[in-house]
Symmetry: C2
Subunit: 258 residues, 2 copies
């Protein structure tokens, strides 16, 4: 493996990857990041040409896009020539949804000669696995939520859903899993239901890996849920020990299924 750079989104993941792999951190303007690495590149999405040059100057050949990267707003008045040339590709992909946009970003990095590696490849120890033993009711609710996510997947919608007693109580939209859980807490407290979190079919895990952390567990508990079902090998735990501790403290079960 060549020299690694982490293009850092928000959250704990960039730091978790950097903790195991010496890496240059690419800090994007407007994206808060406290990960520390073996070097630092300050970059902006409008100046991709500069970013590519800085990466090459640092000897970087491998890239990892880690952390939450909400569709960044992008000042088209500030583009460098290289970014300007890429704009049609970016705009066309943006119109086809988040997944298409991220796939296009990966394709652009690959066209520039970089190898794109997923955070889950660099930290496979964080992947959800195993079965804590869901009850029959939890399994039934999880199956209902899973069916909804399967129906929505082709539309590039929905990484998570909540079901309780056979009824859907919430489906994740653009606002994310935390907003979904707050909605359930406010509108359907004490349901004893289940949060299901999965990758969308076709989701490029190298750049858009579903993840939960101890905060997710706390929000699920505040929403009155009894369990969380994750897709085995497709959801990262940030970090696994803290998630387990939070789940135990709150009386939630967490399990993974294929």
């Amino acid at each position: 493996m060549g020299r690694l750079a982490i293009i850092a989104g928000t959250g704990a993941l960039p730091g978790l990857v950097a903790a195991r792999h010496p890496a240059v951190i690419v800090r994007l303007a407007g994206v808060p990041c406290d990960a520390e690495g073996a070097g630092l590149i300050e970059a902006r999405l409008e100046h991709l040409g500069q970013m590519f040059a800085d990466l090459r100057a640092s000897g970087v050949t491998e890239l990892c896009l880690a952390g939450a990267m909400r569709r960044a707003s992008f000042d088209t008045a500030k583009l460098d020539a290289e970014t300007q040339a890429l704009l049609p590709r970016i705009m066309a992909a943006q119109g086809r949804g988040d997944d298409a946009l991220l796939r296009e970003v990966v394709a652009i990095f690959e066209d520039e000669g970089f190898t794109v590696r997923g955070a889950h490849e660099l930290r496979p120890d964080l992947l959800a696995s195993g079965n804590a033993g869901a009850t029959e009711a939890q399994s039934a609710d999880a199956a209902r939520a899973r069916a909804v996510l399967a129906a929505l997947g082709p539309l590039d919608v929905g990484q998570a859903a909540v079901a309780a007693k056979g009824q859907l109580l919430g489906i994740e939209t653009l606002q994310g899993t935390d907003a979904l859980l707050r909605f359930v807490a406010e509108t359907a407290p004490g349901s004893g239901g289940v949060l299901v979190k999965r990758a969308k079919p076709g989701q490029d895990l190298r750049v858009d890996m579903p993840a939960i952390g101890p905060d997710t567990v706390a929000l699920a508990a505040e929403a009155g849920l009894s369990g969380i079902e994750l897709q085995a090998g497709h959801v990262l735990l940030l970090d696994p020990d803290a998630v387990e501790t939070a789940a135990k403290a709150r009386g939630l079960s967490i399990w993974a299924v294929p």
Copy 2:
């Protein structure tokens, strides 16, 4: 048409039907209702045998289930013999979702010899129709929300969804349209998006008619939406004049498509 009884749910619809058709009002225990009719029957879901007898004693041959009837809790310790005998049918249907449950309730009334008529048959003047002229952006957002509802329909989920700038901002679940709009107001204010409200495929309009009123318009405006798209002939306006006035006052467009 024989004598009509309205089994009254909450909201304005029972009164709107009774205003045009002389009818006996069936008031269910636990369901607030201020509709006035040509007669009154007090009933409970646990005593269906008694309800059937009272309806026959009043000469009723036609029934209209009007208004919001959230899945009522049902005290199985209080059932009369006739309801007890029907319990297996009700419980089996309940496990298959809201639509299945309502279809089974209609089948039970029909087995008892009553004709079940939809509120939209008795008040066709309230049905959404026409096109106020959506902008191109509104049409695109509506198409996105419609695609999501189409994907979820077979799962008996989703009468409404909100999209803005091509992104899904909310999908209705058990908590209903008002809760959906409040969620959007809190988590994605000022989006300028569109609420789409439609019947689910296979939804029995005779007993479960999607409806919006001036309150829905007010909530949509507070959520920062710019328009509401309804399914023509499949959504009731409660009442049309007040809805139009509210939309004008708030600067929202409302249109209907097939």
